[in-house]
């Protein structure tokens, strides 16, 4: 398993490099920007487990992300637990929502499933916007802890935490992709009835994928309250998250773990640059145009394009 060795060595090297960067004197701004890009690595990877591997398009990613963020904010108000507990709590809450939503909607295919997930996000946003305990539409304040795990300031600690989450979710996605489970999901994507007739317990596998996908999105959202300090429904249920969650794996290539990573780094990076140099509103326009271009000219994403050129 030479490829596996290189993969894990690379993961560790990136982790060490990230830690060294966070401990160095680099401008704080870069960590704010890198946090967002890494967060999208987690979200895109999470989306891809259900959307890319099993072929079920989720339009409600922002809902799962927000469940993670708001669970963390609620835990903060209740007991102010350590960040790790907030991340775990956010992951579990979003995973449970993923399981429940999956149970209700995974029997319908294609566009109906997509609409159901979109509706779920709208329902969740409406609940949160009308819930006084978390501040309703005004939002709620979350103050960062003073200690920063040995880093100079808390944003750097958050950056490093998100780096760990990003690497963790990519490792998880890769393990799944190469397992019997991943092959079963691919069979569902290709032809669900043929998969079922070949002995694949399709509903169980889809529920697992929906739960894990939702949980990882919740994990990505959990540190967000600390990142923004003021959490409100508009930013937690942002359209940008729902759109990017789909666009990044599609542009990178949805059938393997590399696709969402490439998509998130390229698109997320480009958005961060565009925010500074052009305007933050134009971001989604760029994403939209890129997505249209890829769907038409390279439906298998950059990974597919690369494979085609190599042949």
């Amino acid at each position: 398993m030479r490829g596996g060795g290189i993969f894990y060595a690379g993961a560790v090297a990136i982790l060490i490099a990230g830690y060294a960067a966070a401990a160095s004197g680099i401008n704080d701004y870069y960590f704010y920007a890198a946090y967002i890009v890494l967060q999208y690595v987690v979200i895109a990877t999470a989306w891809n487990i259900l959307g890319g591997y099993a072929g079920y398009v989720n339009f409600g990613s922002a809902g799962f992300y927000a469940v993670g963020a708001y669970t963390a904010a609620i835990l903060y108000q209740l007991v102010k637990p350590p960040l790790v507990v907030m991340i775990l709590g956010g992951g579990i809450a979003a995973g449970v929502i993923g399981l429940a939503a999956g149970y209700l909607t995974l029997r319908v295919k294609g566009v109906y499933f997509a609409i159901a997930t979109l509706a779920l996000a709208v329902v969740l946003e409406t609940i949160v916007a009308n819930w006084d305990y978390v501040g309703g539409t005004r939002g709620t304040y979350v103050l960062r802890p003073h200690h920063a795990f040995g880093f100079v300031n808390y944003p750097r600690a958050l950056f490093f935490a998100m780096l760990v989450l990003a690497i963790g979710s990519v490792v998880l996605a890769r393990v799944i992709e190469r397992s019997k489970l991943g092959r079963g999901l691919a069979a569902i994507r290709d032809d669900e009835q043929a998969a079922e007739s070949s002995g694949v317990p399709t509903l169980r596998l889809k529920l697992f994928a929906a739960t894990l996908s939702g949980a990882l999105m919740g994990v990505a959202g959990a540190p967000f309250p600390y990142y923004v300090s003021h959490l409100e429904p508009g930013s937690a249920f942002s359209l940008a998250i729902a759109v990017n969650a789909i666009a990044m794996p599609m542009i990178g290539g949805a059938t393997s773990w590399v696709g969402p990573v490439i998509g998130a780094l390229l698109l997320g990076g480009a958005q961060q640059i565009a925010t500074v140099t052009i305007s933050s509103i134009l971001n989604l326009l760029i994403v939209g145009l890129l997505l249209i271009g890829f769907v038409i000219f390279a439906p298998d994403g950059l990974v597919g394009l690369f494979r085609k050129l190599r042949r």
Binding site: R183, G184, A186, A187, R189, Q193, S197, S198, G199, L203
Partner: protein
Amino acid sequence: MSEPLLRIENLTKRFGGFIALDGVSLHVAEGERLGVIGPNGAGKSTLTNCITGLLRPEGGSVHFAGSDVTALPAHARARLGLARSFQLPRPFHSMTLAENLAIPRDYAARHDPPDPRELLTRLGLGAKADALPRSLTQIELRKLELARALAAQPRLLICDEAMAGLSHSEVDDMLGVLLVLNDSGIAILMIEHIMRAVMRFSQRIVVLDAGRKIAEGAPADILRDKEVERAYLGA
């Protein structure tokens, strides 16, 4: 008489007001070759889907290998040894041929699972084990359907019009393959339009028309049956 491998009783399936299957009963013995024929719309594909579990009947029961599987989902029936091929080939198009066979091998085969490459070679697809299904010809796709069904180590194989659209010599080719499989102990339920093929292949034939069983017997008797003639040619 001992319990047959497959026994369905009074199977009824409705789609809204349309009755696709109306109290159909039949059985397949261990290692037997049963043919099911009937004009278009007779309920043959619905029967297949009710036996394999992709459709739930409104009434009746399906017993397989000694247990009542009426309430079992399709994947659980596949694990018991009930495999099928689809009328229109439905390969896993993103996977190579060998990977296609690995799905039932991993998910349905019980013990000592067959080697995908060896199976492909047995069906004459050995050279294409690493190719994608889209590079296959029509008969190769049909054989891939069979190979994938076999990778599940079935005790009963349901061939849903596996020969439709094939040429004369290709039909003979497929029949040869199926007879070899049957020789190895796999019971085969052949659902087919091509009379020549069914008549030659089957030990016993069941005729469906408009969702009901109108005849059952040896191929020669079926050919002489008045009701069968009427169903096919019109009265």
